[in-house]
Subunit: 256 residues, 2 copies
């Protein structure tokens, strides 16, 4: 069966996350339902999909990548049109490509980019409440910008990983991490580019960085936490709706 | 009792519209509930509010204006903070002012501005689906720009008014009407500034203009419809979610 990769965007607001869960609708279930309908599969059969990584309930994506084997050879653009015509408008496939039989959206990924958006308006913007976290307090941007540099490089991120993880190895490499204020939108933008991320890692980093910005923690707090290797010492997990998976990188762009 | 004016923004997605309706939650009911709670009114009593005009189910606002009489003199900023702390984040009060006892948000309004956003992406952007209408077809922008000029001035807009209206007089004055393509967002922006608007007027105008853009109707269609004075001859009512009430004008800005 030919293998396909697809790049997708979704508004995660009304989903339990990317991955199939017993307690509510998931992006994965919606896509597999659409594939099954397209392929006219009999009851009991389905087309399993794999993603570059799960996203949590309420987390969004602008560049999630998945792959699956489809029972027929179909032009990628026909596949894209067919899927989009079935899927709810909260999910949109933006690219489809036929890929090598051994392509794997997760194992072959070499990097990921995340954006975390914080609405700093005094009162939350009604049009952004699903896509930002509201944080109207005074903050020191310079302190957050100085602090965030500590995570660049290869570190043990145990302090920034949910205890619910099943991963043993907590060492990850971050290529770039920045925080900036966007005048036009009145938003703080936390940007992370790394080889890989642990469960809730971006959200715990943002929760801790906001504490540093608020003056509740010292500027060198992230350095201390990297050494402490203890989740209980880090800041709170920032809410899901501010987080968006922006891009997944591969040695060779599967959609080129 | 002192009279207050408030300017508000709302995401109309999950409301039946501005005005109280028996069939679901309304912005007005949410605000009156918040005012009642603030004023600690006994059961059966409430603080009625009036708006500059109703907005339909699913229609949004960035500058709706309302007024109400409050049983105590409160600092406008305290009122603003108290209301926002009670209201759901889909509604935000952005300004409050104490106004003259005879100020009326509807009768004193001298102008209104509306924006209608159309997502022209091939597939609908998941993050805009609640705030735009998706229209991925080829269109002729120049034809729409030429056509829209016909409505500027004072005209009988009977062709562009829902039959559900209770208004006898269908003559309205439009100061400015434009349509432009926004490169950054891949959106068509229809902008209307007028002394007043009829029920569904903006949405029927946009529905008809899109037909002109698509080549289904000639460029002089709006002129013909202004003369025809017949709703059945105009185009469809464009969906609510693309529409946003941007601003209400008064001879003197009540919030200055």
């Amino acid at each position: 069966m030919p293998r396909y990769a697809a790049k997708l965007q979704y508004d995660g607001t009304h989903y339990v996350g990317y991955q199939v869960q017993p307690n509510g609708p998931s992006i994965q279930a919606e896509i597999e339902k659409a594939l099954k309908l397209m392929a006219k599969l009999p009851k009991g059969q389905h087309i399993p999909t794999s993603s570059s990584g799960r996203t949590d309930s309420g987390v969004h994506a602008l560049g999630q990548v998945i792959h699956f084997d489809y029972p027929a050879a179909i032009q990628p653009d026909s596949m894209l049109r067919a899927l989009n015509s079935i899927l709810d408008s909260s999910i949109r496939i933006i690219q489809v490509a036929q890929v090598a039989d051994d392509f794997h959206s997760r194992y072959h990924a070499t990097g990921k980019k995340y954006l975390y958006r914080v609405d700093t308006n005094r009162f939350p913007d009604p049009f952004k409440r699903l896509y930002t976290t509201h944080h109207p307090y005074r903050y020191n941007l310079q302190n957050m910008q100085a602090a965030i540099q500590a995570i660049v490089g290869t570190h043990d991120f145990s302090s920034f990983c949910s205890s619910k993880t099943d991963k043993e190895n907590k060492v990850r490499t971050i290529y770039e991490a920045t925080v900036n204020y966007d005048e036009a939108s009145h938003e703080l933008h936390f940007y992370f580019h790394g080889a890989g991320f642990l469960y809730n890692m971006v959200r715990i980093l943002v929760g801790t960085l906001l504490q540093i910005g608020d003056g509740l923690k010292p500027v060198n707090e992230l350095e201390r936490l990297l050494e402490a290797q203890n989740r209980n010492e880090a800041g709170p997990t920032a809410p899901p709706q501010g987080l968006c998976m922006m891009e997944v990188e591969y040695p060779e762009d599967p959609f080129k």
